[in-house]
């Protein structure tokens, strides 16, 4: 296992290099010029040229790439073009809110989706099953920004129970933190609850027909244990995969939630940076993401081995 972890972490390096290169190229392919974005729409061409020279953007792409890689090799992600702050610093300050949001959302998702999915599979084709599935379908057919908007309208503006926007770190107290997180979490997790409920149901249905489930029942194991101990674990691989994938989708997909609820997280950081062509920030953030993804996927793969002793790599 340890060997697997080490190998994977080593393998992460080329992945991140490739990602870095692709992102670098994509960014240069995308038209747009940080100098122009910064200087505004009335700056003269000479000014723009001067700024570009100042930022080193007038050099050839190859030179820029090599310079960036060189800095990267020393662990330097560079500085934001716009704010001049170190990219690591920017990511660090933005990470907390995003992780909090993702953690809440994943927590809520698992707490809701798995029991619901199990129930739906267990009562296959019953009213409960159909009901849960219908709600799940609705769950992913309503755009996040509409959900968020309606939630704010009801709970914050009309009822005045919860704040409209902003983020309070845990340090501000659990109550404040939870109050700020509740609506964004609901908004963000809806889609994932729907997805994971459905995948749980689908893969559980696959398993419930197996003989060992019958054996468990023959032992007099209660249904709850049959479902959660025997069936769910055998159905776990797709579920875990989707949870992992959802986690990655979630980290990059929080943008809308962060925008609506004005949470200064990494999602927003990257969107803003893309829109402003703040190259070092985009590159750095994506590198960081790819590292996270490698980690998350490593965890998923490790959980495969733990979940299913038959799996070998």
């Amino acid at each position: 296992m340890l060997e697997l972890v080490l190998k994977r972490l080593l393998a992460a390096i080329p992945v991140m290099l490739i990602v870095a290169t692709v992102v670098f190229l994509l960014l240069r392919l995308a038209p747009g010029d940080p100098a122009r974005v910064m200087a505004g729409d009335m700056a003269s061409e000479e000014t723009i040229a001067a700024i570009r020279a100042e930022m080193g953007l007038d050099q050839s792409i190859a030179t820029q790439y090599l310079r960036w890689m060189g800095a990267l090799a020393q662990g330097d992600l560079g500085h934001s073009i716009q704010s001049k702050l170190p990219v690591t610093e920017l990511i660090k300050t933005r990470l907390g809110p995003t992780f909090a949001l993702a953690a809440w959302a994943i927590g809520l998702t698992i707490a809701l989706a798995i029991p619901l999915g199990v129930l739906a599979a267990w009562r296959h084709r019953s009213l409960a099953d159909r009901g849960i599935m219908a709600v799940a379908v609705l769950g992913f057919s309503v755009p996040v920004f509409v959900v968020g908007y309606v939630l704010i309208l009801v709970f914050s503006v009309k009822l005045n129970w919860l704040p409209v926007q902003g983020y309070a770190p845990l340090a501000d107290g659990l109550a404040a933190h939870a109050a700020h997180m509740l609506l964004p979490t609901l908004t963000l997790s809806m889609v994932f609850v729907a997805l994971i409920t459905r995948i749980t149901r689908a893969s559980l249905l696959d398993v419930l027909g197996e003989d060992f489930v019958r054996t468990a029942r023959a032992k007099g194991v209660t249904e709850r244990y049959v479902l959660f101990r025997h069936a769910l674990r055998n159905a776990a691989i797709p579920i875990v995969t989707i949870v992992g994938v959802a986690l990655t989708a979630l980290i990059s997909g929080v943008v809308v939630t962060e925008t609506i609820f004005n949470i200064a997280g990494v999602g927003r950081l990257i969107v803003d940076a893309v829109l402003a062509r703040d190259y070092p920030v985009v590159q750095g953030t994506i590198l960081f993401f790819s590292f996270i993804y490698v980690l998350v996927n490593l965890l998923i793969d490790m959980s495969y081995v733990l979940l299913d002793p038959r799996i070998r790599y």
């Binding site: 296959h124 691989i237 070998r312």
Partner: protein, 296 residues
């Protein structure tokens, strides 16, 4: 005495898959219902040019945000465009988008996932590349692609499909890992089945269940991702309405003119509902352990 217990099944040749499929659809009310709904939605979208009484791009700024009226059946949007026509055309675009995105991402993801899961040597390199691809945000792709290819459907499809591919590949690979050692796979290999066929016949079917769920999700996600791109300002150009852009454009008017969000929203929900119900019914059909249940 039920008559269906024929002494034996016809031996001449098993009924063709098509026929089997068709009869399965007709027997299952859920499947039939969802298929009909899906077809109706597709039909009215495909028939948009015939059904729409207005040009979906024609603005009448003075007639903005009007509620339903004999002229504008579903009212107008914030630029005074006919909502009905826009929803119809938008449905067409969104359905195409969803279909293409899910098709492309499922096919590519499935192929990659099968290969990575089955061939031990490929697993590590392929999955690492997938990890990397996953990290590239769709937004950046959209910006880059739009600038390279213009804001058109091909660009959108690719920009939305690319990040979905590794997700599907992962899912498929996970399932493959857990079935590749199954005795029936061994048995098939042992009877000389070429690897591709083993993958296709014995391994791929086990991935169908989660795949159907994921694919219907991708379908919905494609439409919504496009909407989100619209929300962030990277959607289609204004003359090309899509359900997503209609919804995101209508959001500021949700209190004043809720129909702008609701109409495409309902269309979208019905569409996704139909796809999902059909997917669910299909998977029940595909699984022999359930398919025989209701037959007597």
């Amino acid at each position: 005495m039920p008559s269906s217990i024929a002494p034996s099944l016809p031996l001449a040749a098993p009924p063709s898959r098509l026929r089997q499929g068709a009869s399965a659809v007709l027997q299952d009310p859920v499947m039939l219902g969802s298929l009909v709904l899906l077809l109706v939605l597709v039909a009215i979208s495909v028939g948009a040019p015939l059904l729409a009484q207005h040009d979906p791009a024609a603005l009448t700024p003075r007639a903005r945000l009007q509620p339903s009226s004999p002229v504008y059946w579903l009212g107008t949007d914030s630029l005074g465009r006919d909502l009905l026509s826009r929803v119809l055309y938008g449905g067409r675009l969104s359905i195409t988008l969803a279909a293409l995105v899910s098709l492309i991402s499922v096919i590519v993801g499935l192929a990659i996932g099968l290969a990575a899961g089955y061939f031990r040597k490929l697993d590590a390199p392929v999955m690492r590349v997938m990890d990397g691809v996953m990290a590239i945000p769709g937004l950046l792709l959209a910006v880059a692609m739009v600038s390279l290819g213009g804001a058109n459907i091909a660009t959108m499809v690719i920009a939305i499909a690319i990040p979905e591919v590794p997700r599907i590949a992962r899912l498929v690979r996970g399932v493959v890992l857990s079935v590749r050692e199954a005795p029936y796979v061994e048995a098939s290999v042992g009877s000389g089945t070429p690897t591709l066929k083993v993958l296709w016949r014995h391994i791929m079917p086990s991935t169908i269940n989660p795949l159907v769920v994921q694919a219907t999700f991708v379908c919905a996600a494609a439409i919504l991702t496009e909407a989100v791109l619209g929300f962030l300002g990277l959607g289609f150009p204004p003359e090309i309405p899509s359900l997503g852009t209609i919804i995101s454009e209508g959001r500021p008017f949700f209190q004043r003119a809720p129909w702008i969000v609701l109409c495409p929203g309902i269309f979208l929900a019905l569409l996704i509902l139909a796809v999902n119900m059909f997917g669910d019914a299909l998977r029940d059909r595909l699984d022999p352990r359930f398919s025989r249940k209701n037959k007597v």
